[in-house]
Symmetry: C2
Subunit: 209 residues, 2 copies
DNA sequence: TTCTGTGAATAGGTTCACAGCT
DNA sequence: AGCTGTGAACCTATTCACAGAA
């Protein structure tokens, strides 16, 4: 199979979001493009990288295409997620409904703060970080979410890696170092805002007509 | 000035993050590349789009480069941020230290839930969403953060737009429609996880050697 | 006619490689 | 020697445009 770009995957997620909200029988590449903020050619290109799901003259059958994209993204199975860091962001993630509906289940929350350990979070107990590696080796998980301070992030990551975790979502403002074969995605609100301020500072060169 | 790509801006944010953590006098493009997960040529290209900040044979002076990048990103002035949606994510953002240190100040929190209106959040009162437009017209802000349900997001966005907001950070799982000249950035945790599951499902074609 | 799938053309982004400054 | 700044080469992504299926 051809090499798939990161952008394509991001767009597939977006198409999926739309498809799951849609109650039509079929969608055209134009419909999907409108929502994803791209062009119809882009949509067709994105999809055609994985096969021919559409029917000429008609469009794409919503149910079938949904199933296919979920398959491509690997969403046909559930994922066990470990959360490290029982702070505000962690707490927001635990209650985030968008996870459960996609098959992501948070199965463990870890922290090093004695004041937090033992607390009951949405039915889950906050556990001692020192147990993390052992617990993972007894019962493996798929994805680790790091919501610690920058200082603690690499150490926590190492424990996740020793526990066999192969995918990490990192909220700490540091670049994690991981071995080949492990994927990391970084999320940083300040970076998102900075991209907005860049636009505010530079784009207003867009006159009204 | 040349057209700057979104990727370049994202990387500049990353370089800035590193520079602010650094206590060296100068950094080389290799140092920055190591942290940004790119190549030294990429770093030099990114920076050279805005001028010649480095010195041949030496590298880039940290203080000066920091100042320059902050300037490019428009961070030399403070920004007033309005938060709409007093849920868990909103609460995490209000206390997020990474904002204040970059000059982002949340100046208002709005919600439509009578049970939340009036609550004291970190020194800020949660206000009635019906006041949003009026308040904005009396005292403008720069950036709106939308952390409502998908249903409410567009309506809230319209109020922000009528209040003169030109930049929006959207956490709701819908594509917001905004007029030309307004920038929107979407943040969606499920999409981030999906990019990880895609890798988990497909990349393990990376053998140990 | 409508709309997909895809070669071919175009545009955009990244890496190479080296001249030139320190 | 060490390291930037930048044309030129290369590679990747997007758009065009149209043949072919419904």
């Amino acid at each position: 199979m051809r090499k798939i770009s990161d952008n394509t995957i991001r767009r597939l997620s977006l198409y999926l979001q739309f498809l799951e909200q849609s109650n039509m029988l079929t969608v055209s590449s134009r419909d999907l493009a409108w929502l994803g903020g791209t062009t119809s050619a882009q949509v067709r290109r994105d999809l055609s990288a994985f096969g021919s799901f559409g029917r000429r003259g008609l469009g794409y059958p919503v149910v079938e295409l949904t199933r296919r994209i979920r398959g491509i993204l690997g969403l046909e199975r559930p994922y066990r997620v470990i959360l490290v860091g029982a702070g505000k962001i962690g707490s927001a993630l635990v209650e985030y409904s968008g996870f459960r509906s996609r098959g992501f289940t948070i199965v463990g929350i870890y922290d090093n703060d004695p004041k937090k350990i033992g607390a009951n979070w949405n039915g889950l107990r906050v556990l001692d970080i020192r147990r993390l590696e052992r617990d993972l080796n007894e019962e493996p998980s798929d994805i680790g979410i790091v919501v610690t301070s920058a200082d603690a992030a690499q150490e926590v990551t190492n424990a996740l890696l020793r526990g066999g975790i192969k995918a990490i979502l990192n909220f700490a403002p540091v670049q994690l170092s991981v071995p080949e074969g492990v994927v990391v995605r970084n999320v940083n609100m300040a970076h998102e805002l900075e991209s907005l301020t860049y636009s505010l500072a530079n784009l207003p060169a867009t006159p009204p007509t």
